[in-house]
């Protein structure tokens, strides 16, 4: 900025020369400078005022326009644009492997009462009691008139009942829509599905929560709104499941058993194709758990024997001793084993029914006759630590990882210490309790060439790639032994023309509640693998306290009870699962006979 001097020398000299006052020139210049400054300040202030005006004007315009738009437009709920039909059901359906519905939702209504709107509480109470037999008119009337304003009457009702309530015609009776869980197949696969009930309830909707089984285990998946449209696909085959349940029920009746369980499992994928437990229940109307503390849990239909039942599974464990001994290279199927006597410390072991199988038998024959002493000798060769590690690797000592909420609670009963006596008893399935599902998974591991199989209820697209537990050769030899148990040994009733089954029987005395064992109560188990030439399925049948009265004497062993049931299940379900039977050559007719 160029400052004009207040006293310019030229004008001062000129003023002095003319006698004028140089101070006047200075004052004049000072005035001019002040005026210029003032002009500039005023211009800037005006600019600021203008800017502020524009700001305020725009702001008020926006506010005014918004107010005008709000005032002029119609009031409307905000709506999501499109795709509103994606969410139709609150909870995803459950279907079997072929897409047949196992669980779905149905729209129904709940009934509630706004008591202040009731015109004639006494009449409403009387008529409601007439429609719903479980309601009591006097109690209902008291609750209508005790000052509360809101009251739930029914959680769900049928359309007929709803019409009857409509016909009462009182303005205080109101309906709220409800999504109800429906199991269209009734009792079928009840233990797997479990059941559902209402959680938090409002007038317009209620939360549906799983209470047991896969409904509870997969609750988060089923409730996920993003996946509500895609049904949960189970590994079950509805037809096979129905057949298995039918045969199991017949078997339980025929052998006068208290109950039973069946597991049918794919050995490559670990998919459970059918799993049944008898007695059963209806998941649409789930019964209450037994209140009596002294009752056995197995007495209730809710109890899933296949998963929750933890039993001593008896001789079915013997094949694991043979498989491990062969895997470690201790024996081959033809190695002779002492079957004469076995004593550990003071404890002397005997065979079932005090039989005597001679001085020695080969490993394969030990399995065929189910010799306790022979298996005990194998187990002692293996040793406690390796045996325990092997059982652990097969998953026999841990709760089953299957997708059922009950599975986590069914912890196998394992002895705390593992001395030689336990090694021997554990080798033939005594003193060690595990669930039938764990046993089925262990057999599946052997049938899968020694690669561990984890049971699952969800449909799989690929075989499992688990860790190797047994060498391929040892697994193959074990399966061959299982076949010889059927052809030459204790499970001869499973012989049939159509399918070659291999399996091992097990009969275990039931433990008493206070300790010791019952003399005349057993749990019989048959663990089978079929078809033996290329194992595809593992079948496990367990019967609780079966008795076979068809012979001259009462028989309780697995060979007479569980094995025929298993054979019938294979005969009926294998064609349904797409397994081709071996076809007997047709009878020669005259022409073919002549030609040959």
């Amino acid at each position: 900025m160029i400052r004009t001097p207040l006293r310019p020398l030229a004008r001062i000299l000129h003023a002095r020369a003319t006698g004028a006052s140089p101070d006047a020139i200075e004052r004049e210049n000072l005035r001019q400078r002040n005026e210029a400054l003032r002009e500039r300040a005023r211009g800037r202030a005006q600019l600021r005022l203008l800017f502020l005006c524009i700001c305020f004007f725009s702001a008020f315009t926006v506010v005014g326009a918004r107010m005008g738009m709000l005032a002029a437009s119609e009031p409307m709920e905000p709506r999501s644009a499109g795709a509103a039909n994606a969410i139709t059901a609150g909870r995803a359906d459950i279907v079997d492997r072929n897409g047949r519905v196992l669980a779905t939702n149905m729209l129904t209504h709940a009934l509630y009462v706004q008591t202040k709107d009731l015109i004639d509480p006494a009449r409403v109470a009387r008529e409601l009691a007439g429609i719903f037999p479980e309601l009591d008119a006097a109690t209902l009337e008291r609750r209508f008139t005790d000052g509360r304003s809101f009251l739930w009457v029914r959680r769900v009702m049928s359309p007929e009942q709803m019409q009857a309530v409509h016909d009462i015609g009182d303005p205080g009776l109101l309906f709220g829509p409800r999504e109800m869980r429906l199991y269209p197949n009734g009792q079928l696969a009840a233990h797997i599905l479990g059941g559902a009930s209402f959680g938090a309830e409002g007038v317009d909707s209620a939360e549906v929560i799983g209470t047991a089984g896969i409904e509870k285990a997969m609750d988060a998946r089923l409730r996920d709104p993003a996946q509500a449209g895609t049904p949960l696909e189970l590994s079950l085959d509805l037809t096979a499941q129905a057949t298995v349940e039918e045969v199991l029920e017949t078997g339980v009746m025929q052998y006068e058993a208290k109950g039973g369980a069946v597991i049918l499992m794919d050995v490559r994928t670990g998919e459970i194709a059918a799993m049944a437990s008898y007695p059963s229940f209806d998941p649409n109307d789930r019964p209450n758990p037994l209140a009596d503390p002294k009752a056995e849990p197995g007495d209730s239909g809710l109890f899933n024997r296949a998963v929750q039942g933890v039993y001593e599974l008896g001789s079915t464990f013997k094949i694991f001793a043979a498989a491990q001994a062969m895997d470690l290279g201790l024996v081959t199927p033809d190695t002779p084993v002492n079957t004469q006597s076995l004593s550990v410390g003071k404890k002397r072991f005997t065979e079932f029914d005090n039989k005597n199988y001679g001085p020695t038998k080969t490993v394969s024959e030990v399995m065929e006759v189910s010799s306790n002493i022979g298996t005990g000798h194998l187990a002692l060769q293996i040793g406690a630590e390796r045996q325990q590690a092997f059982y652990k690797a097969l998953g026999l000592l841990d709760p089953s990882p299957v997708e059922l909420v009950e599975a986590t609670g069914a912890r196998p009963l394992v002895p705390k210490r593992w001395p030689d006596v336990v090694t021997v008893t554990a080798s033939f399935g005594h003193g060690l309790s595990s669930s039938p599902l764990n046993l089925a998974a262990a057999y599946a591991t052997l049938a899968n060439g020694g690669v561990k199989v984890t049971p699952t209820l969800l449909r799989q697209s690929e075989p499992q790639l688990g860790p190797r537990v047994v060498s391929e050769q040892a697994a193959l030899d074990s399966i061959t032994m299982l076949r010889r148990v059927v052809t030459n040994g204790t499970a001869s009733m499973a012989k049939m023309d159509a399918y070659a089954i291999g399996g091992k029987t097990g009969t275990a005395d039931k433990p008493k509640r206070g300790g010791g064992y019952y003399e005349d109560k057993v749990i019989t188990t048959f663990a089978a693998v079929f078809p033996i030439e290329a194992p595809k399925y593992v079948l496990l049948v367990t019967l609780d306290e079966p008795i076979d009265r068809t012979g001259p004497e009462v028989r309780r062993t697995a060979g007479w009870t569980a094995v025929p049931v298993a054979a019938e299940i294979v005969r009926r379900s294998a064609p349904l699962l797409g397994l081709r039977p071996a076809i007997a050559p047709p009878a020669l007719d005259g022409l073919t006979a002549v030609k040959q």
Partner: protein
Amino acid sequence: MRPFLYVLSFLAVLGLGFWAYRENYATQAALREVADLQDEIATLHESLAIQRAEWAHLNRPERLRDLAVLNFDRLGLMPMEPHQFGRGTEVAYPPPPSLADSVSDLAIEAPVDISGTLDADPEVQSP
């Protein structure tokens, strides 16, 4: 020129206003229709779900088994069993045609018109 432009722009504003007015109501009508359709879709979905449940209920294995037993006289349905499987070679060939069949194939049942006209050969005909 200038008045003409004024009139033109006024008319343009008028036209645009009319167009905006119509679009507004057309949009509102479309939105209402979408809402109605979505309501209808929801209702249909609901009844579809109920019908699917009913279908599953009517086709439950227990009921089908009972029906098969009840109607055994007419249908003769049995559970699937291994002995029902067979080999391809067990399927009989169709019986060889008998002499009577071959004769009846040859028999002339109705007069056959064998007279006709020959199409003229175009290559010969054309000059």
